[in-house]
Subunit: 134 residues, 2 copies
């Protein structure tokens, strides 16, 4: 069901500092930078082979990423798998007893349909599903 | 320099519970299971396309993964990049001002030469380098 990685999400207080590291030292290239106001986050996607590193900075303290930073500090935030159909994957996960954050997909970075599984059901690793058919 | 993902490391207290999720629900296949006594960790690598999910369970509480679990709890532990030459990558990282955990490579899962960068230098995301030339 989840057998293709899409990206690794990394929470940061400062996109500028993180970009100095990821583009300047690690040599990764920016493929997308956008603000998702509804989710209170600014996102930078960095190309890493067929996958991406996703840097996440909060645009307000009470956003999910803002709360994550306040509780856990910066660092690894989530792992995302690529699926053909997010709603079908959510239905299968739910049928298997996985608790969901999103019962239906929302629009994430790059305009893709995405959804999160609840870390209570996944050994505390936050898991995102990203719809990229084919 | 770091533009190819190799695996995502996930810390767990119970490999059995995690495997029930990753093989039973997520449909990932075990490619390797081994104990690295010197590092106090039992490792399961799960195939995920060209990359892997690496489940890590401590064999003793005072091991690095045991301490991580005591301090942070289970969940995402590290992200690993594939490089041609770990020693060369360590030298370049150090020259760029990155603090290293390992000044020279050690032998990790699957017999590969690996090394870790210090999370103090990498926005608190623990980064591993894995030597897989080509």
């Amino acid at each position: 069901m989840f057998t293709a990685l899409d990206h690794i999400g990394i929470a940061t207080q400062s996109l500028d500092e993180s970009l100095a590291l990821y583009t300047g030292v690690f040599g990764q290239e920016i493929e997308l930078r956008e603000t998702l106001e509804s989710q209170g986050v600014e996102v930078v996607l960095l190309r890493c082979g067929e996958e991406s590193i996703e840097l996440l900075a909060p645009t307000r303290a009470d956003s999910p990423v803002g709360k994550f930073l306040a509780e856990r500090g910066p660092g690894l935030h989530h792992v995302a798998y690529r699926v053909d159909d997010v709603q079908a994957a959510l239905n299968s996960a739910r049928a298997a007893g996985i608790e969901l954050v999103d019962l239906v997909p929302r629009i994430g970075a790059g305009g893709h349909r995405v959804a999160f599984l609840h870390p209570r059901s996944t050994g505390r690793a936050l898991i995102e599903l990203v719809e990229k058919p084919g």
